[in-house]
């Protein structure tokens, strides 16, 4: 995508097709204008990534009934994956790979789980049903990666490790973790309408273990679940078919599945392997936490489910409040401490939310295969509030530009984005520079918005008549912002329509100028009348690299997510052919997006290492619209 941002919009892309410099095939890549955007044909045909994956999954389960009431289940499951990867880079593949490179990774990952469940059930009397379950499990996870790198090849196109100019560098990585748990569940049922479930569980996890501490790595958590089927217990109006109320309390703990966050060690520097026959190391950047605690979440939930009008209308509603404590996070710390980050157990976060699912059949014609209209609506909303935090504020992530960062503060919310923005007058107007006419940008960071949507809604309509079925799915979200790297880059290059006004005669920005007294103090504001003539700098100040606010936009959207038409061939035509069913369908996905977001798709996720960073769009490809047809034949 970066390439498209930088490529001259009116240049012929075919000029790039012959990507080797004539006479220097294999040695020098043709980069017209500059090497800034790499030649995409060279990337497609020469920068090759190879990939082979083998996966084995198995599962053995044995059940035995000792008596009618007592049974035992023992299960062993395993997952084994082997990945072989290789990357080839030709000579002249950018400044870091002047002489190309060849890298291979062999990755093995395994996970095995053994568990058992011992169940005992008893009908105490005609009113009470009782069931007890005792279970336990152990999960073992192993990962190993051999990463060999020949950076710098003796001759062009020699993609073997033997062709390395210097020694082959080895970056091995191994990790393992285990966790085990023991739990008991008691289910009680009274008549056919009151159900109770009580659980207790204790977990042990290696990811919290550390040889230097005495306190245990085990932790215990309970839960309680009650449901009451109103329609069985009391007589309800005949229009109500089914009604259920439920309430639950649960306490969940987790030690996470990231190992090695509890002890200090020095990292090897394989690039020094070729230097002076030694092993070289450096101190870690991230401080570990030897007394790491498990994450705890306490959730209270109430809900109701109701079916009425002969099951033509159904409603499921749930409200919850959860307090999460001691979330295991990596926070950024000042480097005068000697380190850039530390593992922390972060304060307390409260989530309050509402989820509603509504389904109905507004029209249904009685006749066989008559017209029928089904509607499904789901709604979810969540408010998130930081109640306590170990420090006054914790920086959880930083974006590439304008000091954009995700900061956790007490009273704020997870996902709050801060960054440099417009200097504003007390009534919120943008302040401009009286000389240049450009917008003034704050020195410090300001609150830009939250990157987590406040709510999501989806509506599916389906119509069926005779052998046809037509359905359409729309969904949307609202209440979040995102920062667009693509937008600011394109603005700076004058490639967007928003940068057209004022290109020839200058522009007066919509805002105010400061009124200063003789000492230079701001005494008031007046309407901006300074003409910005350096239009490049003007738009840079409004939406460029230094202004994180200017290049942040709402990620609200409504999407026409999916539409399909299916036709089922009447069965009478098929019997002779021995075919049960034939369905022919046309479908389209991701059909339209309505959104204030300026750069393609507001649903982006930016990969950073193995985490998806929310809120920062980093020039990802636009999502694609899919149109297709399918034919299903059932014998």
């Amino acid at each position: 995508m970066y390439w498209y941002i930088f490529w001259q919009p009116n240049a012929d892309i075919d000029w790039l097709k012959n990507y080797w410099v004539n006479g220097q095939e294999g040695r020098k890549i043709f980069y017209p204008y500059s090497t800034f955007p790499e030649n995409p044909y060279a990337i497609a045909y020469e920068f090759l990534n190879e990939y082979e994956r083998n996966n084995l999954t198995g599962n053995v389960q044995v059940s035995y009934d000792f008596t009618k009431d007592l049974s035992l289940m023992v299960r062993q499951s395993g997952d084994y994956t082997m990945d072989d990867r290789a990357q080839k880079r030709p000579w002249d593949a950018g400044s870091k790979m002047i002489r190309g490179s060849y890298r291979t990774q062999d990755i093995t990952s395994q996970e095995y789980t053994s568990d058992f469940l011992l169940g005992y059930k008893k009908q105490l009397n005609s009113n009470w049903d009782l069931k007890g379950t005792l279970g336990g499990s152990i999960t073992k996870n192993r990962y190993s990666r051999e990463d060999l790198r020949a950076d710098g090849l003796l001759s062009p196109g020699a993609y073997t490790l033997d062709s390395a100019e210097t020694d082959v560098q080895s970056y091995p990585y191994r990790s393992m973790f285990e966790y085990s748990s023991l739990y008991a569940i008691v289910n009680a049922g009274y008549k056919d309408y009151l159900y109770l479930e009580l659980t207790g569980r204790r977990d042990w996890t290696s990811t919290l273990a550390n040889p230097y501490r005495s306190n245990s790595v085990g932790f215990t958590y309970p839960s309680l679940n009650i449901s009451y089927i109103l329609s069985e217990a009391v007589k309800l109006p005949s229009s109500i078919d089914y009604a259920k109320l439920r309430a639950s309390f649960s306490n969940v703990g987790s030690g996470g599945t990231v190992p090695y966050r509890t002890s200090y060690g020095y990292g090897p520097l394989p690039m020094y392997d070729s230097y002076a026959n030694g092993d070289y190391y450096s101190a870690p950047l991230v401080l570990v936490k030897p007394d790491l605690r498990p994450l705890r979440t306490v959730t209270y939930e109430v809900g109701a489910e109701i079916q009425m009008l002969k099951r033509r209308l159904g409603l499921d509603i749930a409200a919850y409040m959860g307090n999460t404590k001691d979330q295991i996070l990596q926070s950024i710390i000042d480097r005068s401490s000697g380190y850039s980050g530390e593992i922390i157990n972060a304060g307390k976060v409260r989530n309050i939310g509402l989820e509603i699912a509504l389904n109905g059949t507004p029209v249904k014609v009685k006749a066989k295969n008559g017209f029928k209209w089904d509607v499904n609506v789901t709604f979810s909303s969540n408010r998130n509030r930081i109640m306590e935090i170990p420090d006054s504020s914790v920086v959880l992530g930083t974006g590439a530009v304008g000091s954009g960062q995700i900061v956790a503060r007490v009273g704020g919310s997870m996902g709050d984005m801060y960054g440099r923005g417009f200097v504003r007058s007390p009534d919120g107007q943008v302040v401009f520079d009286p000389v240049t006419g450009n917008a003034k940008i704050t020195e410090g960071v300001v609150f830009i918005g939250n990157t987590i949507p406040k709510g999501k809604l989806s509506i599916q309509n389906a119509f069926s008549f005779r052998n046809f079925r037509v359905s359409a799915l729309f969904d949307g979200q609202w209440g979040a912002v995102g920062h667009s790297l693509m937008h600011y880059k394109m603005v700076e290059q004058g490639k967007l329509k928003v940068t057209v006004p004022g290109r020839y005669n200058g522009i007066i920005g919509n805002g105010v100028l400061e009124v200063l007294d003789a000492k230079g103090n701001v005494t008031g504001y007046r309407k901006n009348d300074a003409v910005a003539t350096d239009i490049d700098e003007y738009y840079r100040s409004m939406m460029g690299v230094d202004n994180a606010e200017g290049s942040s936009f709402s990620t609200d959207f409504i999407k026409f997510r999916e539409a399909r038409i299916d036709y089922t061939v009447p069965a009478r035509h098929l019997k002779r052919l021995g075919i049960d069913r034939v369905t022919l369908g046309l479908y389209g996905r991701n059909l339209f997006i309505w959104s204030p977001w300026p750069m393609f798709d507001p649903e982006f996720g930016t990969l950073s290492g193995t985490d998806i960073t929310q809120g920062f769009e980093m020039a990802q490809f636009p999502s694609t619209r899919t149109l297709g047809a399918n034919l299903v034949i059932t014998f």
Binding site: P259, P268, M271, D546
Partner: protein
């Protein structure tokens, strides 16, 4: 039956409990080394410090000193002293991390029974003094006495206090006195491999330390409140060449020579190796710099500006 189940449960609980002992072992990181020797940290730290300074020189100091000028005419150009607060962080963010490595070299050489080595202690002090002097010259008051103590074993200090620049300079003088003493008496060797500057020559390190000492004394010689003390320390060095050997010829200069390899992954290759050609084309050489080289008939002009820097080479 019930009895058997209870017994089984108890047994299982016991098995799981004993697991947790094994978990200490499982959670020991096989990819990291809990114990290393000073020499294993030394060369990379030194190379990194130099790379940090060279990159900063290219991107910032050259502009500040009018060696190069970034040719955009917009706001926020260093050569016009229009400097944004966020641009000051590079030396701070990188040099403090390397101080951690240097301090670990010292603490391992000081306390480890296996790797006790006075020479590494002395050299570590000299390099720390050098790095702290760059930091305080850049920022003024900085964390010094409490810096780099973030680790739990070191006191878990994530917010070190700021010391006064004057106190830092005085403390650096004391440290360099200590380093001179340590290296004078040290019998321990520094392996030639781990030292890309002096190949393990401790005398040369000692001379470098004292020369650095003199340079840092010169910095404060104009400050009236400390001038007398500083001048007398300086004279003491000049008057006692046996006690304070200093660099006396070019062959004793502290130079880290890059290998000249074009492979960026090679540790001893210049940090400019991973920069693009256009990174050197985009800033132009300043009139102040090139004009003076010309007026002084300096031969350096051939090194600094062999080809026209703004020439279009498509």
């Amino acid at each position: 039956m019930i009895k058997n189940i209870l017994l089984g449960t108890l047994l299982l609980t016991f098995v799981l409990q004993s697991c947790t002992k094994r978990y200490d072992e499982i959670n020991t990181n096989p990819n990291l080394q809990p114990v290393v020797s000073p020499e294993q940290l030394f060369a990379p730290a030194l190379v990194n410090i130099l790379s940090i300074n060279m990159s900063r020189n290219y991107s910032f100091n050259n502009e500040l000193m009018q060696v190069t000028v970034n040719m955009g005419d917009g706001d926020g150009k260093v050569f016009r002293y229009d400097i944004r607060t966020t641009w000051g962080t590079q030396p701070w963010n990188n040099l403090y991390l390397q101080l951690t490595n240097l301090k670990n070299v010292y603490s391992i050489a000081d306390t480890s029974s296996r790797y006790k080595n006075d020479s590494y202690k002395g050299v570590s002090i000299i390099l720390q003094s050098w790095v702290y002097s760059i930091l305080t010259d850049t920022y003024g008051d900085i964390p010094y006495s409490e810096s780099n103590l973030g680790r739990l074993e070191d006191g878990a200090n994530r917010r070190p206090k700021f010391d006064k620049q004057k106190d830092i300079y005085m403390a650096i003088y004391d440290s360099l006195e200590v380093a001179n003493k340590i290296l004078e008496q040290s019998k321990d060797t520094i392996t030639s491999n781990s030292d890309p500057v002096f190949k393990g020559d401790i005398t040369k390190w000692r001379k470098f330390g004292n020369a650095l000492y003199m340079r840092l004394l010169l910095r404060l010689s104009g400050k009236s409140e400390v001038a007398a003390a500083v001048v007398s320390k300086f004279q003491n060095i000049i008057n006692n060449p046996v006690q304070y050997p200093i660099i006396s010829s070019n062959s004793e200069s502290a130079i880290l020579r890059w290998s000249g390899s074009a492979v960026a992954a090679e540790p001893m290759s210049s940090p400019f190796n991973s920069m693009r050609v256009q990174d050197f084309r985009s800033p132009g050489l300043g009139e102040f710099f090139i004009g003076n080289l010309r007026n002084w008939n300096s031969p350096l002009i051939q090194t600094a500006a062999r080809t026209a820097p703004t020439a279009l080479t498509v």
